[in-house]
Amino acid sequence: MFKLRRFLKDYKLQLIIGPACKLFEAILELCVPLVMASIIDQGIQKNDMNHIIVMGVVLVLLGVVGLGSALVCQYMASYTSQGAGTKIRTALLAHINGLSHKELDSIGTPSLITRMTGDINAVQANIAMTMRLLLRAPFLIIGALIMACFIDLKLSVIFFCGSFLIAVVLYLVMTKSLPFYKEIQKLIDKVSLISRENLSGNRVIRAFSKQKSQQESLDNTGEELSKTTLRVSRLSALLNPATYVITYIAIILILWFGGGQVNNGALMSGDVIALTSYMTQILLAMIVLANLVVLLSKGIASAGRINQIFEINSSVTEKSQDKIAPVKTAPAVEFDNVSFTYGDGDNELSNISFSIEKNSVTGIIGTTGAGKTTLINLILRFYDATQGVVKFNGTDVKDYPFSQLRGDIGVVLQKSVLISGTVRSNMTWQKPDATDEEIWKALEIAQAKDFVNDLPRKLDAPVNQGGTNFSGGQRQRLCIARALVGSPATVILDDSFSALDFATEKALREQLLTLKNTTLIIVTQRCASIMNADKIIVLEDGETAGQGTHKELLKSCDTYREICLSQLKESEVEI
């Protein structure tokens, strides 16, 4: 929590005024029983009507002023917490955008999303809560104790013992029930897991007629959940009666000893009434405080999770923002003895060396897990090579500003994801100021022109989150078009034909080949996609199993031949 305080530095004024107003209100509130005692003791006992009226006006004034200062505090708290939350949100997203995939992988997307949403909201709520209540409740307790001391020092002993016991009970019940709540959360997670499995595998479950055993496993969890809830409720239901009993035992003692003090002439009955009010005030404040502590501990945990992200620095950083001029004669992409590992495990890529000439067509082929996508990730600098150098247009990729490197390369990723918006908003990702003409050209090459043209609103047709309103094949073609807008000099297609039928793929590949001055890198599992490439790089278990043309590789590379034969007939392979 404290490490996030830099986001509060613009709100110093609010942070002082807010709680100060709240304290003022609490002081006023503490005065109320005193004023009431004075009405009874001075006014009623002495039949002083004037005194009653004056004190009555004081009571009303206390209320009005209290309301005013409370409202000021509420506004300050709302302003500060919303403002700080907004700042944290902006900063965190910028920070996440700056992290490399190495860090993003280790945290995981779902966890990042909950931190950006739920955790920031929790911190925001906590800032407000702290400003509004955290100071008020202890102050009311301490104030009530002090007031009690003022009225009668001896009787205040009862107050101190009573408050202490209430605090102990609250602490015990809360700490004892906490493990149960964790258990309950776990069981709810289990219900959600069983349901998710049951839904995603519903065909299989029905096919194997396993409905009964699935139902049993859910019912068992449900039963356990209900039992655990009841066990904890036996405990948490103690909280109210226990604190109530303590408070009223204290009040009984006040009445008994207070009666003695009245008899001695040390106190008046109005004082005894004030004392009982203070005791109930302490009880209420204690309960508020206890609830607050639970909320705050959750907020502190959230703040810790947010801070964790802020403390991670990107392992892949830009050296400078200066643009790099391409070396004319150099190959478009060059790997020089590159090895890479994601963590501490085995090498994902080992000693890879190859070069891709400008304006050539290169195929990269291999089985799943051979390291094809990893190789692409290194060119785009999503990760840095563990060893060796990756060069783009003759310069180490580490020397490029990100925007230049990635801007010069049009990439189609394996997973076809569109961003919600319109077709046009998706098509302008590569080039924000692309003209309609450029977009249509790209769509045409990607074999997407026809179906986009058929959409009622064409380029302005809406796209749902993830592009779910398009079929898998359409999505893939739109992703290809997205990379082609603005005619990047290098285009990388990572297994980008998988959702296309063979005829569409063929037409698309033919169109791609018509692109002038473009280096084409096609990553695939299908040998048919790359048989005619200028160069084919065969990967196997992170190593290059062979490089060359289709014909050369058929003779020299066993892996390549095996892949071809697994997909095509011998006669078809030997074209």
Binding site: A77, R132, V191, L199, Q214, G222, I251, V262
Partner: protein
């Protein structure tokens, strides 16, 4: 609608009525005693008149009463808390069980057409919200109402004049709470909507970091987010402030009621010179009531919004429960043997009435034949499988197995005839052994291992840390696509059904792995009628019948050689996968 939802929830609470009765009795007792205590305290204070004029005998009597009352209050408060939790937790347990049962009894189309995340959130979050709502209704609403009525009675009994002051002023608090509530509702709705917008934006940008980075979208992303964020700040500030108004404002009304009670009470006592029937102790009692009386009003109004949420949740949950079940198959026949003869006769089917899919489809499959179904995506290949397994029923025509219409066979019996391996290799979280036994819990270890060997899965299972007892993470997270697929095949082999369905079973694995899987398939298919839906044509060349489908119709059928000779749709489809320009 609302009434309907409430009565639906009540139906589920009915079996636990004894807890409800107990809770209500406890609430009545504890609340009335709680209200009685200020009277006793007031009486005790009235015993303290002045110096040397304190009636200790009476005070101790009242203290005794107070003591007994608080013990009883404590017991009944605890009982009320416990019973309330018992009702809500038992009620939601029953609802949850029924919702889950529903998942397995609705037609499969229901599960296909409803987002799973949404259904899961209904069986978890929404049901929890119903539970919270129930607890709130009983603890806050009931005890709140009882407190209000009780306080009113006690106050009227003590002094009707001051009671009148309290009764007249209290609605102010309700009015204030109502106005604030309405203000909140509007800005909260706005905030909710914006928060949803921001959440999905975050989900997209954070979830698709690769695209964001590949297209250098970071700065534009920051700008877009800043704009949304600013809007959220404005709306959020308004919503939060409006929400924060409730507490101080109702406290203010409270304080006013308290002050009015004090002043009117004091003036009454003084003006009647103590002969108006009101004592100082009674005034103290009124002051305690004044504090207490507005509280339940505020709580009740607060609870009302929570009840709204619970009702909305209940509405969502009961919508699931009210979904129609699959037609009952009680009157259908049990069939336990199967030779493997399958016939489609003039079958018509579509998922929605506007887009016809399968029309007049006929096919005769002899026992032991392998049928391959190929065609472009969306042509209805998987639909045929859905019909065959009874996941969906035909609109017209008839499908029969060994001459019996499948609509006359009990669903589970029909499905037991088929072993099924799907593209999406679904595994349960549990050990490998548990997964392999999924279809046949009585299989011995030897039988399971034998099946795994046949499926070429034995060798990789043995290499796993705990062999067959290795735990698989949810949906096979720690296994490769190929391994998962092999486990699914082994799972089907353990059952050893008379017929087989392979629905794009190898499309997500690479071709080298596929060769291994194919070997396993061939073992599995020996002598069995099988239906193979394929994406890669190279895998089905040896089939007895190849059905070529396009737009829901069979456009060609025959063996690979015959179809290639025909030079038709299949020929083009087949050639396009290797014909380079």
């Amino acid at each position: 609608m609302k009434k309907h939802t409430i009565s639906s929830v009540l139906r589920y609470t009915l079996p636990h009525i004894k807890y409800f009765i107990l809770a209500v009795i406890s609430a009545v007792i504890s609340v009335s005693l709680t209200l009685y205590i200020p009277v006793l305290v007031g009486n005790a204070i009235d015993c303290m008149i002045e110096k040397n004029n304190v009636n200790f005998a009476n005070i101790s009597l009242y203290i005794l009463y107070i003591g007994v009352s608080i013990v009883l209050i404590a017991i009944f408060q605890w009982l009320m808390g416990y019973c309330t939790n018992a009702i809500s937790s038992k009620t939601i347990r029953d609802i949850r069980s029924d919702v889950f049962r529903k998942f397995n009894n609705v037609p499969l189309s229901y599960i296909d057409h409803n987002p799973h995340g949404d259904l899961i959130s209904r069986i978890t979050n929404d049901i929890e919200a119903i539970g919270d709502g129930l607890t709130q209704v009983i603890t806050q609403l009931f005890s709140g109402v009882i407190t209000i009525i009780g306080t009113l009675i006690f106050m009227l009994l003590i002094d009707y004049r001051i009671a009148l002051v309290v009764v007249v002023l209290t609605p102010l608090s309700i009015l204030v709470a109502g106005i604030i509530g309405r203000m909140c509702a509007k800005s909260f709705r706005e905030q909710q909507a914006l928060q949803g917008e921001i959440s999905s934006y975050i989900e997209e940008m954070v979830g698709n970091q690769k695209i964001v980075k590949a297209f250098s979208y970071e700065e534009r992303c920051a700008e877009e987010f800043e704009e949304k964020n600013k809007r959220l700040f404005k709306v959020g500030l308004k919503a939060q402030f409006a929400g924060a108004l409730a507490n101080p404002c109702t406290r203010f009304v409270n304080n006013m009621v308290y002050a009015a009670t004090g002043i009117v009470g004091a003036v009454l006592i003084v003006s009647t010179m103590g002969n108006g029937g009101l004592s100082i102790g009674q005034l103290s009692c009124f002051l305690a009531y004044a504090n207490q009386y507005t509280k339940p009003f505020n709580e009740v109004t607060g609870v009302l919004t929570q009840i709204q949420t619970a009702l909305a949740s209940a509405g969502r949950v009961f919508k699931v429960l009210e979904a129609e079940n699959e037609p009952s198959d009680e009157n259908r026949n049990s069939v336990n043997t199967c030779k493997g003869k399958v016939e489609f006769k003039n079958v018509c089917f579509s998922y929605s009435k506007d887009t016809p899919l399968i029309q007049n489809f006929s096919l005769n499959v002899k026992p032991g034949q392998q049928v391959a179904i190929v065609g472009p995506t969306g042509c209805g290949k998987t639909t045929l499988i859905n019909l065959l397994m009874g996941f969906y029923d035909v609109d017209k025509g008839e499908i029969s197995v060994d001459g019996t219409n499948i609509l006359d066979i009990k669903r589970n019996d029909l499905r037991k005839m088929f072993g099924m391996v799907l593209q999406d290799s679904w595994l349960i979280s549990g050990t490998i052994m548990e997964n392999l036994r999924f279809g046949n819990p009585y299989a011995t270890d030897e039988e399971v291992i034998e099946a795994a060997k046949k499926a070429h899965a034995h060798s990789f299972i043995r290499k796993m840390p705990q062999g067959y007892n290795t735990l698989i993470a949810e949906n096979g997270g720690n296994l490769s696509a190929g391994q998962k697929q092999l486990l699914c095949i082994a799972r089907a082999m353990v059952v050893n059904p008379p017929m087989l369905i392979l629905d794009e079973a190898t499309s997500s694995i690479d071709t080298l792995t596929e060769i291994r899987v194919q070997k396993a398939f061939r073992k599995l298919m020996e002598g069995k009628t099988s239906f193979v839906v394929a994406h890669r044509l190279s895998t089905i060349k040896e089939s007895d019948i190849i059905l070529v489908m396009n737009k829901g119709n069979i456009v060609e059928q025959g063996t690979h050689e015959k179809l290639i000779e025909q030079k038709g749709f299949y020929y083009n489809l087949y050639n396009s996968q290797f014909a380079n320009n």
